[in-house]
């Protein structure tokens, strides 16, 4: 194979991969179903780390047991599908309604996550929406607001359950604008 053709083909593949990352994520952001999740305070030492803030949600720690969301045995590393239902008062906000190891029926609003920790009481889950990048030295103000429970996050969810953080809201208004 001609070296020059091969080299430029590889470069094109690399650039295509980078471009597709951006295009796919932008498409998912625009077409996904928008919901608002309340941010709960996490360990303050871990909250603001460098250029991004760590976001914790009620969905990040699911209760176990017969009455809980994950009665079925789960292990760390497994994929978990958490079904969401809209709150009665504010239809933009959602809460966890159930969890299973297999995808819910088509048309159901759900988030796909990965089990990180399992204890007798709770199951820790990550959904890929736990980071929000901020300009330098702006993380502390979000940390303070989160401790006061004033922070929410707008998340776009695809039909496959992939979530993406769209906006960070403090007191209901878009932060950073």
């Amino acid at each position: 194979m001609n070296t020059r053709v091969g080299f430029y083909a590889v470069v094109a593949l690399q650039l295509g991969f980078l471009a597709s990352m951006g295009i796919v994520k932008q498409y998912e952001r625009v077409t996904g179903e928008k919901v608002v999740l309340e941010v709960v305070p996490v360990d303050p030492r871990d909250f603001f780390r460098g250029d991004y803030v760590v976001l914790g949600y009620n969905l990040s720690r699911l209760e176990r047991g017969p009455a809980g969301l994950t009665g079925a045995p789960v292990d760390a590393g497994q994929t978990l599908f958490v079904t969401l239902e809209r709150e009665a008062g504010d239809r933009t906000k959602v809460k966890a309604a159930g969890a299973s190891l297999s995808p819910p029926a088509r048309g159901t609003l759900f988030l796909r996550g990965r089990v990180t920790t399992v204890t007798d009481e709770r199951v820790g889950v990550e959904y890929g929406i736990e980071q929000y990048f901020v300009p330098e030295r702006r993380g502390r103000e979000i940390e303070v607001a989160a401790r006061e429970r004033r922070v929410t996050v707008e998340v776009s969810i695809t039909a496959a359950g992939d979530g993406q953080v769209c906006r960070l809201l403090v007191d209901g208004r878009t932060w950073g604008k």
Partner: protein
């Protein structure tokens, strides 16, 4: 008194009757002298030309001298890195102000430009091969930085080792196409970084790395005749083995990782002796021999302390609980034995023999394997056993150090000699500190310790001079 700069470490005539490329310092000295001799009528213009004709002055030969090439690569790379870092920092710091599509576009433009100009300069027009290579390397780095930057733009927090894998896999074809050693080294480092992050996140070993290292990276290093790239692969496999073992093979008995490293080093040394039976495999043979020997000597140093033996003995007592660990050890032992046996048998078919050096190395392989078996049979859990094991490994340490010196002298190679003498000196000084020094008054202890170092330095220098003289005589 002025001294004549050395033309290089070795000066045997190159193929075709010419001597190797002179160093820049020697070339400058010779040019000045020849000009003076011609003015004084000692040599004619033709004679001056004939003298220069004694040396291989081609660009490729000059490249092999190393330093100027390295300097150009370092300058080019540093310049490119500064530009690349500046661009990324600018984008990262001002991301709120720059629209998303424009940010992604900038990443693509800078990555593509670095690749394009690097290829044009280094591989198409070939006017600036080192700068071109550095720019292509910069392109590969910008590609990886682009993955993280786009992840940042879209606040992606998914399984991040996949990002490293996408980087490594994307870059892999480039060293294959361009036969670039720096790019191959970068690819090897990236795949090793991937296995490290994957293991750290998942707490499971990553068997795919073994396939990548053995089927892709090692053959590429061989194809490019790059000892350094091969050394990176060997080091990467050691990292994978140790880090992965800690995660899944030995649980919390982390001391068990050290015998695993030891047998890996023995297997590498044994493979080196096998390569001694193949013509053209000489550089790789020495890379493996040196890495394997260095690993054995380093671990023998650790095992030479009775306290360390005691700690290790406690973990070794639980080795039977880890079936997979024992299976991996057996595989390494079988590989080492097979490689050493092949090294002994192959010269009959290949007609190439590693000589006495390879024979000594096979003896070393057998001895270390036997002592490792003893380590497991009689772990130093109690004080007497740990002392006995420490004495045995001291013998390995001192014997191995001297053996390396002998093998290096036999093969007229500097590196094993330096490694052996350094290990011997460090081992001797350590044993002096933890045995004799405590029994002597402080002043006398310092005098004896200092004397020991001076004597070691003297012997070191004498051995080095002998070796250099011997190599020069061979080359004359």
């Amino acid at each position: 008194m002025t001294t004549t700069p050395e033309p290089g470490p070795t000066t045997p005539p190159a193929p075709g009757g010419r001597r190797p490329a002179p160093s820049a310092q020697f070339a400058a000295w010779l040019a000045g002298e020849l000009a003076a001799w011609r003015m004084a009528g000692i040599v004619s213009a033709d004679q001056e030309k004939a003298i220069w004709g004694q040396y291989d002055l081609s660009e490729a030969a000059a490249d092999r001298r190393g330093a100027p090439r390295l300097l150009i690569v370092i300058f080019s790379l540093l310049g490119g890195l500064l530009v690349g870092t500046g661009v990324l920092l600018f984008l990262a710091a001002n991301w709120e102000e720059i629209p998303k599509p424009f940010r992604v576009g900038l990443v693509l433009v800078f990555t593509g430009a670095a690749y394009h100009f690097g290829y044009q300069l280094g591989y198409h027009r070939k006017t600036h091969p080192r700068t071109g290579e550095a720019l292509v390397l910069l392109g590969a780095m910008l590609y990886g930085a682009g993955i993280w930057l786009i992840a940042q733009i879209f606040n992606l927090a998914s399984h991040y080792p996949n990002g490293v894998l996408a980087w490594a896999a994307g870059v892999l074809p480039v060293p294959f196409l361009l036969r670039s050693t720096p790019l191959l080294v970068l690819t090897t480092v990236l795949f090793t970084l991937w296995t490290g992050t994957e293991t750290a996140v998942s707490q499971h070993s990553n068997p795919a790395y073994l396939g990548v290292a053995l089927l892709l990276l090692a053959p590429l290093a061989w194809r490019q005749r790059s000892s350094f790239a091969l050394a990176c692969v060997v080091a990467g496999l050691a990292f994978w083995l140790g880090f992965g073992a800690d995660a899944w093979l030995v649980s919390h008995d982390w001391g068990l990782v050290f015998p695993l490293f030891l047998l890996y080093a023995v297997a590498v040394l044994a493979l080196g002796t096998t390569l001694a039976s193949f013509a053209g495999a000489e550089p790789f043979r020495w890379t493996l021999t040196l890495l394997g020997s260095a690993g054995i000597v380093l671990l023998a140093y650790g095992f030479s302390f009775p306290d360390a033996q005691h700690e290790l003995g406690r973990d070794l007592g639980r080795a039977g609980e880890h079936g997979a660990y024992l299976a991996v050890l057996m595989v390494l032992v079988a590989f080492a034995v097979a490689a050493a046996a092949a090294g002994a048998a192959l010269p009959r078919w290949t007609g190439v023999s590693g000589g006495r050096a390879a024979a000594y190395e096979r003896v070393a392989v057998a001895v270390v394997l036997a002592l490792t078996a003893l380590l497991f049979a009689f772990p130093g859990a109690d004080r007497d056993a740990s002392l006995l094991q420490a004495i045995l490994w001291n013998l390995v340490l001192f014997g191995g150090s001297l053996g390396l010196t002998v093998v290096g002298s036999l093969r007229r190679e500097y590196s094993p000699v330096y490694l052996g003498l350094s290990a011997f000196s460090i081992a001797l000084f350590t044993r002096y500190l933890d045995t004799l020094a405590g029994m002597l008054p402080m002043g006398l202890a310092f005098i004896c310790g200092g004397g020991l170092l001076l004597a070691g330095g003297f012997l070191f220098e004498r051995q080095r001079r002998r070796l250099v003289t011997a190599i020069r005589k061979e080359g004359a």
